[in-house]
């Protein structure tokens, strides 16, 4: 059972052009999955992600989505 949950990776989509680097997602991630690089949010260790969506619900800029099938819509526009 443990092995099964470990195998299941969560998909984190970061819309770079929307990210303003406020670090809210990094500060409130309970497992330190996220970090900052060049003023933008990046995934440091995807294995740690538990899919709680704390970053997605807190992000004020529509820049990070976890297991959200509609995240790609934000990439389309110019």
């Amino acid at each position: 059972m443990m092995a099964e949950t470990k195998e299941k990776k969560h998909e984190i989509v970061i819309i770079e052009k929307n990210c303003k680097g406020c670090e809210i997602c990094v500060e409130f991630c309970p497992t330190n999955t996220l970090g900052m690089h060049m003023g933008k949010c990046v995934v440091v260790d995807l294995d740690k992600c538990i899919g709680c969506k704390m970053c997605e619900i807190r992000c004020p800029d529509f820049a990070i989505f976890v297991d959200n099938p509609y995240a790609e819509n934000f990439k389309k526009n110019k």
Partner: protein
């Protein structure tokens, strides 16, 4: 329980995203909260009107794909009242800042509460006039610093929820950006309420309020909201001394009274047609 995946893009004008608000501004979180509430209620986008006045919070109408109206400073409720009376079948939501709703539009605010017209007012309370450079507003807490109160603010602040309650609003609630899921719930209930609903959402301005009040980062601001907030149930057991400097969150009023457009229809229109 897993959270529902929401297609935020459905309710946005994507060509205007990323929005103009500063990095870490709580207004974006409230915009997402409104989207989640509207999505859960399955409101028809074409039957929903979002009205706003002037200020940082009022930029929201540019980003959301409803029927939107960006009006003059403080007068959002006056325009919204006109919309609701002309087309009572529409869902009218007003987004307003603390200065817009209680200072410049203070009279419109209390009179809309008094009439109990079916409008949902969402007040984005960031304790400051963010757009114009951080002047203190009617909700700035005593002792806080702002551009125009460099030695600390001495004006007692407005309690928006108590004001709305006294003026006669039928749904009054306060949430904050830290516990944003609660705001979703209150906004949803406010839209469902047949009457005037006021939802005050405590948000943060890291650029002007936070920087001057030892809350440097957006995360510090969010943690501060958590520290000062007390739920209404807990507040009932606390003494006034303990509640000093605290912000009470929760539902203050939830009652039903006859709605203004219905009353108008019943009395004025029928009388004009000679039915009564």
């Amino acid at each position: 329980m897993a959270r529902k995946d929401i297609d935020y893009s459905k309710y946005l004008r994507l060509e205007y995203i990323p929005h103009i608000w500063c990095p870490g501004c709580g207004h974006g979180s409230i915009m997402k909260s409104i989207i989640r509430a509207v999505d859960e209620l399955n409101l028809d986008k074409d039957k929903t009107v979002l009205v706003s006045g002037i200020g940082c919070s009022s930029r929201i109408v540019g980003y959301m794909d409803f029927n939107t109206l960006h009006t003059t400073h403080g007068r959002a409720l006056a325009f919204a009242t006109g919309i609701k009376l002309a087309r009572p079948e529409l869902n009218v939501i007003v987004a307003s800042g603390d200065g817009d709703a209680t200072a410049i539009g203070g009279n419109h605010f209390i009179h809309a509460c008094r009439r109990n017209i079916d409008i949902t007012l969402i007040v984005f309370n960031n304790f400051i006039y963010g757009m114009t450079g951080g002047q203190y507003s009617p909700t700035t807490p005593v002792g806080s610093y702002a551009s125009t109160s460099p030695y600390g603010n001495i004006d007692p602040s407005f309690n928006i929820c108590r004001l709305a309650e006294a003026a006669g609003a039928t749904y009054v609630a306060r949430a904050n950006v830290y516990s944003i899921a609660q705001a979703d719930n209150f906004i949803k209930k406010g839209i469902q309420n047949k009457g005037f609903s006021v939802i005050e959402v405590i948000t943060h301005c890291p650029t002007y309020y936070g920087r001057k009040n030892k809350l440097k980062t957006p995360a510090d601001n969010l943690r501060w909201q958590k520290e000062v907030s007390v739920s209404i149930h807990r507040a009932k057991k606390m003494t006034p001394e303990e509640l000093e400097g605290k912000i009470i969150t929760g539902e203050f009023v939830n009652k039903s009274e006859e709605e203004y457009t219905e009353k108008y229809e019943r009395l004025i229109i029928e009388k004009a047609q000679g039915k009564i």
